[in-house]
Symmetry: D2
């Protein structure tokens, strides 16, 4: 069953949108922030040649970049104002070649602790109205005051 989270900072969405705007890597790869909910954040990325590996697939590191930010902001949505979030570690399985018209990374909080938050991230590829799961992330985020 999906969990319901109550963010300690009611201004969490503005805080996340402002922080995302400062992630210059997101502009470089062409990603934009999608939906922002308590404990769940999505990031959208259109396919583009400038972020591919040798076979024309999205580079696994770029797939990871959007999954990491989606998970980080999902964790951040449940942190108090004036805190910061950093990635402690993550593990990513690449399930299928990251090919498609566009991609969406969805980060969800699994367990929000005082210091550490564990998240699950998915990256879906979209092509002609169909979607496919191309990557799965399990991540640990830390709150820094």
């Amino acid at each position: 069953m999906p969990q319901t989270f109550t963010p300690p900072d009611p201004n969490y969405e503005n805080r996340i949108r402002a922080s995302f705007g400062e992630q210059k890597a997101m502009q470089t790869i062409g990603a934009t922030l999608g939906s922002v909910h308590p404990g769940e954040v999505s990031i959208e990325l259109p396919y583009s040649e400038h972020i591919t590996q040798q076979d024309g697939f999205l580079h696994a590191g770029i797939v990871t970049t959007i999954a990491d930010s989606a998970c980080g902001y999902a964790a951040f949505s449940l942190m108090p104002a004036n805190s910061r979030v950093l990635s402690v570690e993550f593990k990513v399985n690449l399930l299928a070649p990251a090919i498609g018209e566009g991609f969406i990374a969805i980060g969800k909080v699994i367990k929000a602790g005082r210091t550490l938050t564990v998240c699950s991230g998915e990256v879906l590829a979209f092509q002609g109205g169909e979607s496919k799961l191309v990557a799965l992330m399990q991540a640990t985020m830390i709150r820094v005051d």
Copy 2:
């Protein structure tokens, strides 16, 4: 003790340099291929604002991008000609903020199997002649024929 590997394809370095040249994501982030040895490959990346996260550190996904390619090409160096390499999965610990004048990712083969190759990757940050370990990767690569 470090292992010594004998690459089945004596032309492995050319094959890797050609493949790296086709990774458009590498040009986008500003990374270049460093040394290429059997079972060990390094990738260099100067610090640049366009690949940062909200605090001005290198984005964890970009750190992962160079570590993943370094590990992938380390694995690829021990694969036969005409094979391809793909990332199955990786896990990255971010050990310190990725700040510095430049970064180097070093990928090393730990175990080269017929189908799967397990690699270890390190990312070091350089600042004023000092280096610091900022990320550690453990990765599984697969050979595709």
Copy 3:
């Protein structure tokens, strides 16, 4: 949405129950096989002092043992007769102290490939009619013929 899998071997449940019976480590820790469905297997483990760490919690390695077998058999349920399954790698987050009257590990197939299968595993602790998620696994299994 949950996936529906069709096992290539209709005899998959017998095959899994026979294999589980040969995992002597399961008898040693006191685990029993629960439900067996295509792509989803559960393992039950009552709390016992002989499998604890220094604080009286279930040892993280024992938590991993039941999650690994649940994921391995979930993968195995979708493999052809006469194949074997081995763990390539897994990553486990320990989300809460593993304390309770009993535990259940549920392994689910996320992506079944020809050679590699990616699974997600959960370990729940039960106490007084309540359950709590204590561990989350992301695992890669390989089919060996």
Copy 4:
């Protein structure tokens, strides 16, 4: 180059040996504590049928059990007296079937932070005077006061 660590608690070895003695799971599987140095701890485990999986190999969860405790105590060696250590997460690659007369898990601290410590663990199998790397762990440990 190997790092040199100075443990804040000079009594670290006694503290670790006492804690290990309370890990009942270690007695159950037959493991004993080997060497204890600042930032590096080893655990020894003779092969025994009661800890195997269906093929007669050491169960991957048992391999993980000794690697986890070796990493946890390596981290613990650098923590102050009166603190406790818990596993946050770990990732394990199984590199070869865990077969042999005996096994040794060696846990080493890679980065000791105030709260989190990142460790690397290896499990070696011994057979007839030869050793073989059978598993590689990357783990995050947390200090609890």
